[in-house]
Amino acid sequence: MTNAISPLVAVNDVSMIYRTRAPNGEALETVALKNANLEINQGEFISLIGPSGCGKTTLLRLLADLIQPTSGSIGIGGKTPQQAREARAYGYVFQAPALFDWRTVMGNVMLPLEIMGYNLADRKARAENMLALVGLEKFSKNFPWQLSGGMQQRVSIARALAFEPQLLFMDEPFGALDEITRENLNLELLRLWRETGKTIIFVTHSIPEAVFLSTRVVVMTPRPGKIEKIVNVDLPHPRDFDTRESPRFFEIATEIRESLRHGHGYEGNE
């Protein structure tokens, strides 16, 4: 991507410590994220990868102002996360579709537009566009439960895109899906990213998924959660199923796997 002068997302020395109490009353500190530094440019596709407890979801929630850091600062397009959230600067796709059962597919995609005060005609047009983009225009009148898990997740992606945020946070959106559905949705997501030019930050614990989708992969390791390494993915675009079989794909995947293992090395010594 082009070298922007200032990064879209800047994470400066951010730590997140959860203070809880053990059953015996002893105070517990869980370091979910330690001294994270990261810069993300406009138009990048960044994956955060790592095992459970490495702080990848925490980092995403910090960026989205769903939680606030214990220390450090975050900038999103020159704003604080709270300002960015209030300016509706990003869309968020969760681990589960989190659709509203009482709304049709169309109604679900229109939800953010209603909240943000778009008029009815505009809401309809945008929702229809987004549903077409994820290939679900025929299901607009259905209710979420009438759709498969993969289709529900596509609806939630359409919902996140409906108000056309330039930034998209995705927290293991395909984690609960079968491998075949997942690979198809990966392809669709890549196409969507190319067509819309958005910046996507994507949490996953699948190495092939991360390599296939990303421009850069942020490798994270647990206890305490931290950024271990950032791997450049120089595979050419557009990528397709053949990309997954190219030698370079395996090289990058191996690099990621090794740094993940390296991060795990001192786990036993704790």
Partner: protein, 333 residues
């Protein structure tokens, strides 16, 4: 449904046959005889009646599954004829049961002061339909007004509880306790305090259903998928939108559950409250007074009306539920 319809049919027919034979013998033996109760024949005829009823159930459901199953397979939409046929076993069973009761009561010459025959109840119902109609109106007024007030207050209070944490902490533990104790036991106290007019009974009803409605609604408003809360936060949605777009729809199935339970509670509350004082009408009043005079035909007529009201009331709530929350998991096919 592992049993074959043909077997069900066979056993059913056998049951009906045996019980009919036995019944004819027993009834013939007792018809117009001076002997009123004979232990053995009462037991015998009860057993025979049971066998007969099971038989009727077996025959009719066997016939229905033989007739309907092949037709139902390639049907998708709603078919009135089909659903009438599937109701047949239940209807037939009821008819046979009523006829049996009638026959046994005549055979054993049980006096009206003990158990009235179904025909006696129907006759009484027709004779005193004006009085019963007024009783029905009174009870409906008490139950209806009490229901509306109790449910509205319950929902309103639940909204406050979901809005203010201190109410949730301070009030809900008591509400949970109150919703599981029989508040109807307070009926005599309330009627004594609030007077004999219909209002006192409506108050009993309102208090009875207030707590279950409050507890259920509050749960529905508060037990929201945390992801959807995050979602609304990511949209920077104001609290009013979170409430209207998320909490209220989320609570609707809980609210309707409470409203359905409350239909029954409301009628129980109204009728029981009438036992402790009224201005001379109401189904509960009628049941009490006629029981005192041992005219059980009137009592049973009133009980039947109360049952009918209960069914109608409940189904109205269920109908509304289906209309409003048709998307809910309980209505998926």
């Amino acid at each position: 449904m592992a049993t074959k319809p043909l077997n069900v049919l066979l056993f059913g027919t056998a049951g009906v046959f045996i019980s009919l034979l036995g019944m004819i013998l027993v009834i013939a033996n007792h018809w117009n005889s001076s002997e009123v109760w004979s232990g053995l024949s009462v037991v015998l005829s009860c057993v025979l009646a049971l066998v007969g009823l099971l038989g009727v159930g077996g025959v009719s459901s066997g016939v229905v599954s033989l007739l309907v199953a092949p037709r139902a397979k390639d049907k998708t939409g709603f078919d009135l004829g089909l659903s009438m046929i599937s109701l047949l076993p239940a209807i037939l069973l009821a008819v046979v049961a009523v006829v049996l009761v009638e026959a046994l009561i005549h055979a054993f010459q049980i006096p009206v002061a003990q158990i009235p025959a179904p025909t006696a109840v129907i006759q009484k119902f027709l004779e005193s339909r004006q009085v019963l109609w007024r009783d029905t109106q009174t009870t409906l007024l008490e139950a209806g007004i009490g229901y509306v007030i109790g449910a509205s207050l319950g929902i309103l209070m639940a909204i406050l509880v979901s809005r203010y944490q201190f109410l949730n902490k301070g009030l809900m533990p008591y509400a949970t306790i109150f919703s599981s104790i029989p508040i109807v036991a307070l009926a005599p106290v309330i009627v004594k305090a609030a007077g004999l007019e219909w209002g006192s009974k409506a108050a009993v009803v309102a208090i009875t259903i207030f707590f279950p409605v409050l507890v259920n609604t509050a749960r529905g408003l508060l037990e929201v998928n945390p992801l959807t809360i995050d979602l609304m936060r990511s949209y920077a949605a104001d609290p009013r939108r979170v409430f209207l777009d998320l909490r209220i729809p989320n609570a609707l199935p809980y609210i309707f559950n409470a409203l359905k339970i409350s239909t029954t509670l409301a009628l129980i509350g109204a009728i029981v409250a009438e036992f402790f004082g009224s201005t001379g009408s109401g189904l509960g009043f009628r049941i009490l007074v006629e029981t005192g005079q041992a005219s059980f035909d009137s009592v049973w007529a009133a009980i039947n009306i109360a049952s009918f009201l209960g069914i109608v009331f409940y189904n109205l709530a269920a109908l509304l539920e289906r209309r409003v929350t048709g998307w809910h998991v309980s209505f998926r096919e």
